[in-house]
């Protein structure tokens, strides 16, 4: 039995809620103020200045392009992995353990780790050279190899953040009742039919939430890009960081913050729309 009480739960929640509200609300207001005023007057000068900077559009382009390449690949990959692992086999625990290791590895560390794989004297180049598959090292880094830098970021980010998607999808898979699958099997549905007609439709909420969570975090991509490519591949968070720490342009940095916030708000609204149904039904 749960206790009904008029004000106690609100009192318990209030401090946490107030704290979060302050740390979300204050920065938003401050960013709006810094971005849209000059000497206390409303002004669009900063907006114009930011939009006139080619780096802004490059950053927007690359942030969206990275998300567009990374997130769908991650979801596809995680889906395959989760489907493969979600059965009884020898070494299952160890496999899941290995797949969850990157959950705790930061973006900076992941960038450095993949640098050891892809640098001109790195593992991959030396391996391929020694097998004889290539005769020149493949260069991944440096401004003239921007396409390869993009690829390096994608590889590192796939390695680091696929585990989060994997865990979400695996959790979704384990919630699917075996009875559905057994019933389908009795009626003669083979593996692919069961996958297409039962598993994927029931997995839709998990896939949706994984997609949106990952896209949301992809809008803030920073550490991994900063380590592997610096400003060769500009991103929204990276440019905001650069403007603030190197140039001390608080107003321009605030615009970057607001653009990230706007993109996230849009995705967050989608997230809540999809989550609400699932969240209230499935969990307690």
């Amino acid at each position: 039995m749960k206790v009904k009480s008029s004000y106690i739960p609100y009192l318990l929640i209030l401090p946490a809620f107030a704290y979060l509200l302050f740390f979300v609300g204050y920065p938003l207001v401050q960013a709006l103020y810094t971005a849209f005023t000059q000497n206390g007057q409303f002004s669009l000068a900063t907006v114009r200045k930011t939009f006139a900077d080619p780096y802004f559009w490059e950053a927007l382009k690359y942030t969206i392009a990275l998300a567009g390449v990374i997130v769908p690949t991650q979801v596809g990959l995680a889906l395959i992995l989760a489907l493969a692992v979600n059965r009884a086999f020898k070494g299952k625990d160890l496999t899941i353990y290995a797949l969850t290791i990157p959950l705790t590895i930061s973006d900076v560390a992941a960038g450095l780790i993949w640098y050891s794989m892809l640098s001109p004297s790195g593992f991959l180049n030396k391996l391929l050279l020694n097998i004889g598959l290539i005769h020149q090292p493949i260069y991944f880094f440096g401004y003239q190899y921007r396409h390869m830098e993009f690829l390096a970021i994608v590889l590192a980010e796939l390695w680091r953040a696929t585990s989060i998607v994997f865990v979400i999808i695996l959790a979704g898979l384990q919630m699917i009742s075996n009875e559905y699958l057994e019933a389908a099997e009795v009626f003669g549905a083979d593996y692919w039919t069961r996958l297409r007609k039962i598993v994927i439709p029931l997995l839709k909420p998990s896939i949706q939430s994984a997609l949106i969570i990952r896209t949301l975090f992809a809008m803030q991509i920073f550490g991994i890009v900063w380590i592997l490519a610096g400003r060769d591949i500009p991103t929204l968070a990276g440019e905001g960081f650069y403007r603030l720490t190197e140039l001390k342009e608080y107003d321009v940095a605030s615009i970057y913050a607001l653009v990230i916030a706007g993109l996230s708000l849009l995705l967050g609204a989608l997230y809540i729309k999809f989550m609400k149904a699932e969240y209230l039904e499935v969990r307690r």
């Binding site: 206790v3 290791i101 705790t104 930061s106 900076v108 050891s116 960081f241 720490t245 990230i260």
Partner: protein, 277 residues
């Protein structure tokens, strides 16, 4: 081809796939660790895919000369303050969500889920202006306060699921025998929830330990480890430090995280909503 060989082939293909996947995750970690301890002559030798002679010189230089040790100290302090504040605010809220029924509960839960998504760069950039006014800029407390805002929604959600797992009957039994609600929380619920809370603390620790954007923006001389590493490794535009320092840095950064996942594996996966059995 008969049924049996077909079955065997399928099994073989399956294990080959699993092996590839595990190798894909594990090999980069092993390689970067080996390279972190390798002598540069081995690293730059195109014939040596796997280095054979090792040194702790670069890890040592990184720790003692380049300030990674101070970074570790700062990171630990920030993470501990973050745990303390986010638990002080988060545990009561988590308890309320788990054990009370009240109007608006679903909305509150949902908004906490949504707040978890709040983008960190948005928070950090304007905070600089406030922190300068409050003299919190370049302090560990300032970073910890921002990290708390990042960790708090997770702490509320995790603790609420932990408390929901502690049977209400036990608490009620305690109250029948004369404990107050608060007393039964401290003497019954809290001890039972302790292992889960410890895991939640580790989760918070790793979140704060790994966070780089806020820490880099809000500090200059009191940098946490990731912020320190970022400023050494990615000077103006990628590649200020020699390669072998990068690998040594990766090793220092991932060691606590991997230790954590080893010890808290059971809880970590439960935290994400699956049971590994």
């Amino acid at each position: 081809m008969n049924q049996e060989t077909k079955f065997m082939l399928k099994r073989l293909a399956f294990y080959a796939f699993i092996f590839t996947v595990v190798a894909w995750i594990v090999i980069p970690i092993i390689i970067s660790t080996l390279y972190g301890f390798a002598l540069p002559k081995d690293y730059y030798d195109p014939k040596k895919v796997i280095p054979t002679s090792f040194t702790i010189k670069y890890v040592k230089t990184l720790l003692f000369t380049l300030g990674a040790l101070d970074g570790i100290k700062n990171s630990v302090i920030v993470a501990l303050i973050t745990i303390a504040i986010s638990f002080a605010f988060g545990i009561p809220a988590g308890y309320a969500v788990a054990k009370f029924i009240f109007p608006g509960k679903d909305t509150i839960k949902l908004s906490i889920v949504a707040l978890r998504m709040f983008p960190i760069p948005v928070m950090a950039i304007p905070l600089v202006i406030l922190y300068i006014k409050l003299n919190l800029i370049d302090t560990l407390l300032g970073v910890a306060l921002a990290h708390t805002a990042m960790a708090l929604p997770f702490v509320v959600l995790i603790t609420s699921s932990i408390f929901a797992g502690v049977s209400t009957e036990l608490e009620e039994a305690g109250m029948v025998f004369g404990l107050t609600r608060l007393g039964s929380f401290f003497r019954i619920t809290l001890p039972l929830a302790l292992p889960g809370l410890a895991a939640a603390a580790m989760f918070t620790f790793v979140m704060s330990w790994n966070e780089v954007f806020v820490a880099s923006i809000l500090t200059l001389s009191h940098r946490t480890l990731p912020a320190q590493i970022l400023s050494i490794m990615a000077g103006a535009s990628g590649g200020a430090a020699p390669d072998y320092y990068k690998f040594a840095a990766a090793f220092i950064m991932i060691l606590p995280a991997i230790t954590f996942i080893f010890f808290a594996r059971k809880y970590l996966v439960t935290m994400w909503g699956i049971t590994l059995k």
